[in-house]
Symmetry: C2
Subunit: 363 residues, 2 copies
């Protein structure tokens, strides 16, 4: 049997720097654990635009469809701010999500013990926080038609469409219930069913699916209250399921609760392929951070932990994922800090590569 | 000249209790400051549904159009959870907003010195916080057509439409710039222009309007980053302008930063009427809190401070608004606390009426 395949799309800004550390860790798994991967690399976002005039070349799209998992760094940067909407770096990422049909975006918001003081929230509010947001990723206001800027009655009108079918809601709800079963069996679904019919349908379908998961305690919350509760008492949540746009905002809110964005990974999963593995893309939650790009300052941990998620969800090696996650935790506990993790302490931060060194040493 | 007119719609849950304290304060202004108001009362939300089978009777709607300002308590409650979408308590409030064309929703998030420890955020992050969110309130995903639950290809589809015209964006942007001019001249506009064309148009129009306000420093932020920045460092903001749905979530997030939801008022303003006053509705940010309704425990301050906003924005008596706001601050500084303000201290909380007594005494 051939090795599992990975496509690395490092992207823009700090993407290539943090991904370089992941490449070293992939090599480590090949050398030390006998887990060799076939790795190919390609361009996405501004980097792809610079070369091909499009943020995702069709050949890259085709490759992404074939591999076992895509690892993505980050896309975007001020250089591309004035590009037309249709070729912005983000469109490359959105095309990957849509065409690979990666409907379940898993965003853990986990507060690392060693970093609890980094949060703008009080230690007791966030210490031990470990919640998972499951965000629908292929539909809703991000993709609904009609969309665009039109002229009506002599003025411009901007239109997007929030649109969810029953089966779109059902499949992401199942993903969330499945996850809840592996965790603390508590699922909170968030929408605006008091204001939007798409939210009414969302609530109905999630409730219907819950019949198949009698052991999971399901609750519903309006998304505005959800934002409040995340700030007030985030530890009340285990798994949260919500739509694409609410998920974008709520997961960023949840991420910031932990105070260390440079630590947070994500997985975007689709339907199983012929080999049984889900279509999958893994990427850090942080962006391309153009202000520090190319300086060797970036924290590679979020990208490294995204690879840990790949080990768990694509390659079914939870034990190896645990190993990598524990290595990162140990490094933090030892006080190794990139610049973003040093708001308060004195001392010299380590570089991106030194952080990679430390994680590999801890493995 | 006749007295200015007020329509009180106390609504559901704790609405009537907190509004009763506002009525006393209105009387105080008549007795002690020679500012008599013509006050009428009517039903909204579940209370209106119980009596009329609709959450807002046409006669009430007509009255709301005629008065100088509407004061609203809160709507909703579990009793109404299973009502059809079209007659839910919220529809009464949404109809008022839409038919009065109250396009600018002002939501201050202010951290009261005496309450800074209530926040789940660290004191230094929120102490002195004083930001204003201007939320568009009559358009966007809340009202756009088509909307509803349809059947397509044998399954249900939930649809809502995000739709903004240039003039809708322009008028709320002007309201926000005008406010920024009276404050610290910093305005941040939030949308998802990287993903949604409605956000692209939003950003363009806000930028165009900024030409008329050269003294205001304008910035743009994606709404997901906005949620993060609100949690990370809210004091970076002065005025924020955003659309109806983002505003719903971001203003609740901002409100919770202060830790004391029972303190936060809001104003919803429309175009000037013949007498020069804007169409206006004032309501607390908190909901109807059915769990404590009827027990005399609710904090009336948010509703009282909403009346202070009425004094400022409808009746152009900033000095009287200041007086009322200072009275509330003094009461807090004196340690008077309703139950919601007592997470930590010992002692017995005061009742809703006693809080009203204290504010009147401080006036
Ligand atoms: C980069 C952008 C298109 C993207 C989104 O809006 O989904 C990002 O914010 C995210 O959450 O992954
Ligand atoms: C009650 C509800 C309809 C309303 C809204 O969604 O606008 C509320 O959440 C608010 O923010 O005023």
């Amino acid at each position: 049997m051939s090795n599992p395949s990975l496509l690395i799309l490092a992207g823009d800004g700090i993407g290539p720097e943090v991904m370089a550390q992941v490449s070293r860790i992939i090599d480590w798994y090949g050398d030390k654990r006998g887990m060799a991967f076939d790795v190919s690399e390609d361009l996405v976002g501004g980097a792809a635009y610079d070369k091909h005039g499009t943020p995702l070349h069709d050949d890259t799209m085709a490759k992404a469809q074939e591999v076992d998992a895509v690892l993505l760094g980050a896309v975007g940067g001020p250089k591309y701010d004035d590009l037309d909407f249709s070729v912005k770096p983000e469109r490359g990422l959105l095309r990957l999500r849509k065409e690979m049909d990666l409907f379940a975006n898993l965003r853990p918001a986990q507060c690392f013990g060693a970093l609890a003081d980094f949060s703008s929230l009080k230690r007791e509010v966030v210490e031990g926080l470990d919640l998972m947001i499951v965000r629908e990723l292929t539909s809703g206001s991000y993709f609904g038609e009609p969309r665009g800027i039109f002229t009506e009655n002599n003025e411009r009108v901007g239109i997007n469409t929030q649109r969810y079918t029953e089966s779109e809601i059902e499949r992401v709800a199942r993903a969330a219930f499945d996850l809840a079963m592996k965790r603390n069996r508590k699922l909170c679904s968030m929408e605006k069913a008091n204001v939007m019919e798409s939210g009414v349908l969302w609530r109905e379908v999630v409730t219907e699916v819950s019949a198949d998961y009698p052991e999971v305690e399901l609750s519903h919350m309006y998304a505005d209250n959800g934002a409040m509760q995340l700030v007030r008492a985030p530890k009340q949540f285990d798994v949260i399921v919500t739509d694409n746009l609410f998920g974008d905002i709520l997961s960023d809110c949840a991420a910031m609760l932990t105070g260390s964005l440079g630590m947070l990974p994500s997985a975007s999963l689709g339907a199983p392929m012929a080999n049984g593995r889900p279509k999958a893309l893994y990427e850090p939650v942080h962006g391309s951070a153009p202000d520090i790009a190319g300086q060797g300052k970036a924290n590679p941990c979020a990208c490294i932990l995204s690879f840990a998620m790949a080990l768990r969800y694509s390659f079914d090696t939870g034990a190896e994922a645990d190993r990598l996650e524990r290595a990162v935790e140990k490094v933090l506990a030892d006080g190794v800090r990139t610049a973003d993790l040093m708001q308060k302490e004195g001392g010299t931060p380590v570089s991106t590569t030194e952080m990679g060194d430390a994680v590999i040493a801890a493995l």
